[in-house]
């Protein structure tokens, strides 16, 4: 199982702040996880589209498209940060 968390605009539009999911066999990195979530359709497909500047963190570290994801990880999806 992987813990997915969503913040700010993404949390609101997806209507979800966290969920636990079992990853399919072929989902092993940020790119494939994003693709798999977009497959849920509707807002998922729109919000996680490449043009949307979605940032991903894996286990609290900013991740790239190629960052690996394994069982037990926490993966966060959020817009570019705007603190400070």
């Amino acid at each position: 199982m992987v813990n997915l968390v969503y913040f700010a605009r993404l949390r609101e539009t997806l209507g979800l702040d966290s969920e636990k999911v079992a990853l399919p066999q072929d989902v092993g990195d940020v790119a494939s996880l994003t693709q798999w979530l977009r497959g849920r359709g509707k807002v998922w497909d729109t919000e996680l589209a490449p043009g949307n500047r979605v940032r991903v963190a894996v286990n609290l570290e900013v991740a790239e498209q190629s960052t690996c994801i394994a069982d037990g990880d926490e993966v966060a999806f959020f817009p570019p940060v705007t603190g400070g």
Binding site: F7, E74, P79, V81, T82, G84
Partner: protein, 164 residues
Amino acid sequence: MAMKWRFFRRLLEVKLTIRVQTEDFDIAAEVLKLRRGNPKIGAVACFIGLVRDINENATVAEMTLEHYPAMTEKALTDIVEQAKSRWDIMDVSLVHRVGTLKPMDQIVLVVVASSHRGAAFAACEFIVDYLKTRAPFWKKEKTDKGMRWVEARDSDDDAAQRWH
């Protein structure tokens, strides 16, 4: 989000205080805590970020700050460690508020103490630039045009880039 969350850590010889809180902070008290009892400190640089009443052409009535608590400690500690590896600084204090704020409210405080002013200024500005592009905080504004999430500005990325 009425939490108050804080941690202290010693990074080699740097004393680091990071707090995320809904309460306001007192600049003078934070500076005093940092420098108390240390006569090696010759320079303190501070930055205070405030809520403005206008942003991107809309009047801001209030703003709500959300963060990713588990990641915040890690992100802020990394930022300060980077500053520490670049400049000869002694102590760093960083306070960031979350929750609902109004125009003129204080949002963030960064205080850096050093023997000399050059290091204090550079590290303080570096931390603020990185905080704005790396730390998981998000602002949502209530404006005369409705509620909206603040968009990240490219100028913030540019400011962080120049430290590479």
